[in-house]
């Protein structure tokens, strides 16, 4: 058990290190010149002294490995460099943008798990017609990309009904949360459909098992059977799928933030990509890759802890 955890920790650490190097090297060798951007298009008029100064200041002429070393040691000490475009400390920029993104992902996770499990349980105990209806809705919901869900939600709930704001992040806690409702539904839609399906399948499998059948015959109240014997055992696959879905939301947040004009790290990344703002692209990429890998790692560990079969089968 300890060996399995140690092995996975080591593997995650090396994955993060290698991917940080890939991210850094890709941006290092990119054809667009950072120099041109820092000088604001004035590279033709800048004197050689000015160019040399900028190159020295940003370390543009240093070899790749040396620059990578500077960057990665900075990452560990909280010095993430300065944005070329916004002339601001990257660490501070991230700090101001992260709450929106975390709020969005957190709310999307909560809503999609609650909604998915509820629909899945309902589908497993509902009649045939209701079951088919739920299958159709979850199949289409699964195939609906977040940004398409976004325009549908906005045109109904923001434009037609005016219940929610269509764009922006809002200020203050309650108001910000209000602005996150539609985006988190759009972000969590696919996930909630996946969870609903998994819940339904797991519930059906548990409902057919011997101890559940016995309980039904003995006349144990139905809600008690569902809660104590069925849902609890069905939770293992549900937890796993929820975890994996949370990881995919880390990437999905970029598109959803853009669709709703939220000021999170996703929109910051798109902006930085368009402006070739290398330090910001590197920083956000490593944050997203890190979050994605860590969530997957935690799911792996949970799986290891919950299910003794996996625990015993693993090295």
């Amino acid at each position: 058990m300890t060996r399995a955890i140690a092995f996975r920790t080591l593997s995650v650490a090396s994955t993060l290190l290698v991917s940080s190097f890939i991210i850094f090297a890709a941006m290092h060798y990119s054809p667009g010149s950072s120099l041109a951007f820092i000088l604001g298009g004035g590279e033709n008029t800048a004197t050689p002294e000015q160019i040399a100064l900028v190159e020295a200041q940003f370390g543009l002429k240093d070899p790749l490995l040396l620059r990578y070393w500077h960057w990665i040691s900075g990452v560990f000490t909280g010095d993430w460099g300065r944005s070329y475009a916004l002339r601001e400390d990257v660490w501070r920029l991230l700090g101001s943008r992260l709450p929106t993104t975390l709020g969005l992902i957190g709310l999307a996770c909560t809503l999609s798990i609650a909604f998915g499990v509820a629909v899945g349980v309902l589908a497993s105990i509902a009649g045939r017609a209701a079951g088919i209806a739920i299958t159709i809705v979850t199949t289409i919901g699964f195939a609906t990309p977040g940004f398409v869900a976004a325009i549908i939600l906005v045109s109904i709930f923001a434009v037609k009904l005016g219940w929610f704001p269509a764009l922006g992040s809002g200020d203050g806690f309650a108001n910000s949360l209000w602005h996150l409702v539609l985006p988190s539904i759009a972000l969590g839609l696919t996930t909630s459909c996946v969870i609903a399906r998994i819940t339904r399948v797991a519930m059906a499998a548990e409902l057919g098992r011997e101890h559940v059948q016995t309980a039904i015959i003995r006349g144990v109240p139905k809600h008690l059977i569902l809660w104590r014997h069925v849902l609890r055992n069905a939770l293992i696959p549900i937890v796993t799928v929820s975890g994996i879905s949370a990881a995919t939301m880390v990437a999905g947040t970029v598109v959803i933030e853009f669709a709703f004009g939220l000021h999170g790290i996703g929109t910051l990344l798109i902006q930085a990509v368009q402006q070739k703002d290398v330090p910001v692209v590197q920083a956000i990429s490593i944050v997203l890759v890190g979050a994605y890998v860590l969530v997957n790692f935690v799911v792996d560990l949970l799986y290891l802890l919950i299910d003794p079969r996996v625990r015993l089968a693993n090295r």
Binding site: S11, T15, L16, V18, S19, I22, I23, A26, M27, Y29, S30, P31, T139, I140, F142, A143, T144, P145, G146, F147, V148, A150, I151, I152, V154, S155, A158, V159, A166, L167, A247, T248, V250, A251, G252, V254, V255, F258, A259, L269, I270, A272, V273, Q274, K276, V278, V281, S285, L288, V289, Y292, V293, N296
Partner: protein, 285 residues
């Protein structure tokens, strides 16, 4: 031999339709329809998709413009019809590229085993760390945005999923006695892999490719939506959702909504087909 017959045999078609069921057959018909529309777009489209007519902007649905017109007075229906081309070709290119890469990588790992397999598996693990959208953004930042950079990035991002499944499947097949028998007979590794190992894993692999077409459609449309994929004025569904989104507040939802419905319809159809086919493998993909 089995595969040659599998593609052409009439009995096979009937069996596939039986596996697909009613929903699957409808989905297949829908996809066939979209393919025809894409092929014959120049003849079907009532207007030039690029023809700007500012005076007729936001025109309501009429006899000449069945779905109305967009911000620049372009015919929405014609743009949808032309947009089916990138909507099919893009994901097709992604699936073909990532499928062939994954096949080469996974079959090499399964055949060689030992340290080659270990190195390849480690590379696959690292690639797993990059979500598709992020990889596409990185490629856009490092090189340029557009159709091909997005296609290559999304293809690379989807290699590890395919390679991982194919590798474990091929490893299982590799352990079968008939493969060893062929080896003893002196058949070379590459030809056993191409003639026996790959055909044996193809049914499962092809189903996975179909399912991945759906994901590729969503991802490519999303990249175009955020402005780093297919560029205006090319008619493209993802791009149309983005353009239509800008006028949503004014109540002009036709462009965004109709393009969104097209995307959802194609992805739903592909997912249903893939799901139905994957049931006979008895394993989740």
């Amino acid at each position: 031999m089995q595969t040659a017959e599998a593609i052409t045999g009439p009995g096979r078609l009937a069996r596939i339709l039986e596996q697909l069921g009613v929903a699957g057959t409808l989905a297949l018909l829908l996809m066939a329809g979209v393919c025809l529309v894409a092929i014959f777009a120049p003849w079907i489209a009532p207007h030039d998709p690029l023809e700007v007519d500012i005076a007729n902007a936001f025109g309501p649905p009429s006899a000449t413009n069945l779905l109305g017109t967009d911000t620049l007075g372009r015919d929405i229906l014609s743009r949808l019809i032309w947009g089916s081309r990138t909507a099919l070709l893009g994901p097709l290119a992604i699936v073909a590229l990532s499928g062939s890469l994954a096949a080469v990588i996974a079959l090499t790992a399964a055949w060689k085993r030992g340290w080659v397999d270990m190195v390849i598996s480690r590379i696959i693990d690292i690639q797993f760390a990059f979500p598709a959208i992020l990889l596409a953004l990185l490629v856009a930042a490092a090189f340029s945005s557009g159709f091909w950079p997005a296609v290559v990035a999304l293809a690379l991002a989807s290699v590890p999923h395919k390679a991982r499944l194919l590798r474990s499947e091929a490893l299982r097949e590799r352990a079968q006695p008939y493969i060893e028998a062929l080896e003893v007979q002196g058949m070379s590794g590459p030809s056993i892999t191409v003639r026996h190992l790959f055909p044996a894993v193809w049914p499962l692999f092809s189903t996975q490719l179909i399912l991945s077409f759906g994901y590729a459609t969503i991802e490519l449309a999303a990249i175009s939506f955020i402005g780093l994929g297919i560029q205006a004025p090319t008619p493209d569904w993802g791009l149309m959702v983005a353009q239509g989104q800008a006028t949503l507040i004014q109540g002009e939802f036709r462009e965004a909504l109709s393009a969104g419905i097209c995307i959802v319809a194609v992805v739903t159809a592909v997912t249903i087909i893939g799901d139905r086919l994957s049931h006979n493998h008895g394993r989740s993909i």
